[in-house]
Symmetry: C2
Subunit: 181 residues, 2 copies
């Protein structure tokens, strides 16, 4: 079940560098792309992402200025990779991969059911020479009972890693932690 | 021992979203900062990173237009966090944290001994309103016998994850993999 969370928590989901699924809705059609080139850029719910012109739905993001950045768990690895290997120009990826779209609150692109978190975003800026989409997160929802809480990290060579051992340095970093986290 | 690797392999190190140590050399002084806001941006050895004006050595990066991006293993977590909690304006971090600087080949900033990989970089562009440093990787060296090959991912709230289970989808992604990886 998705629960609303503070916008500042967008950082928690993007800073670790997970592979994400980015949904768009162009006209009447939902689409989704797999992206691993993302970056947290501040403590106030802004993130950057880039991909290439090979992504059909990146054009939809630029046109509609809206998307939802969804963080899948490691157990969805095969689906995540599959989504990245076919084009929304040829395939209805929601149908093909058995994804359930959930209506978002602030954007027309859908949330995907069963993710760890979804970030509803609007496109605030596009940095042309590098193809950087600067996204402002409008809403964060988090799965309050995930079966698998590990995120997935792409290594760029077709291999991936799930989260493993966790370290807690909250005490040591107390003075550096942004408010609310 | 560090061995030279193809520039295209910069992607392998940055795409997974690890915490990195970024060294600079300003005048006669080496410095190092902990950064987790990084992003791969192409297949040709360009990466982006951003941090904030609170980082003494980010100014050095902008001034000297050179740095080395070092990928530490998860077993160095405490050192990585420590480096992020003190300022190079007050402390000689190489001395304080027992880091060994190794002369780089193309930049004046040093490699750090004992990392998984080090990327010698020059600053190719700086995107002012967002503080994005666009780095061109000039040289990649990789540790050919790491005791711990897991990278570390920051979660933004003072907790961190090491790499865990690995998944291999090279066959499924064969047509999407960039040459040389």
């Amino acid at each position: 079940m998705y629960k609303d969370a503070a916008l500042e928590r967008a950082l928690i989901w993007i800073e670790p560098g997970p592979v994400v699924l980015v949904t768009t809705r162009d006209g009447l059609k939902n689409n989704v792309m797999t992206v691993s080139w993302t970056m947290a850029i501040d403590f106030n719910g802004h993130i950057a992402l880039t991909t290439g012109p090979w992504n059909h739905s990146f054009a939809a993001l630029l046109r509609t200025k809206q998307c939802v950045v969804c963080v899948p768990s490691a157990s969805l690895a095969q689906t995540v990779v599959g989504i990245g290997t076919v084009s929304g120009a040829q395939v209805d990826k929601f149908k093909h991969f058995g994804l359930t779209a959930i209506q978002a609150k602030y954007v027309c692109a859908p949330l995907i059911d069963g993710m760890l978190a979804c970030l509803e975003c609007c496109l605030e800026d596009f940095i042309e020479p590098y193809g950087f989409a600067i996204l402002k997160v409008l809403r964060v929802v988090e799965n309050d009972s995930p079966k698998d809480a590990r995120v997935l990290h792409a290594r760029g060579d077709g291999t991936f890693c799930a989260d493993g051992e966790r370290f807690d340095f909250r005490d040591l970093m107390a003075q550096k932690l942004p408010p609310g986290l």
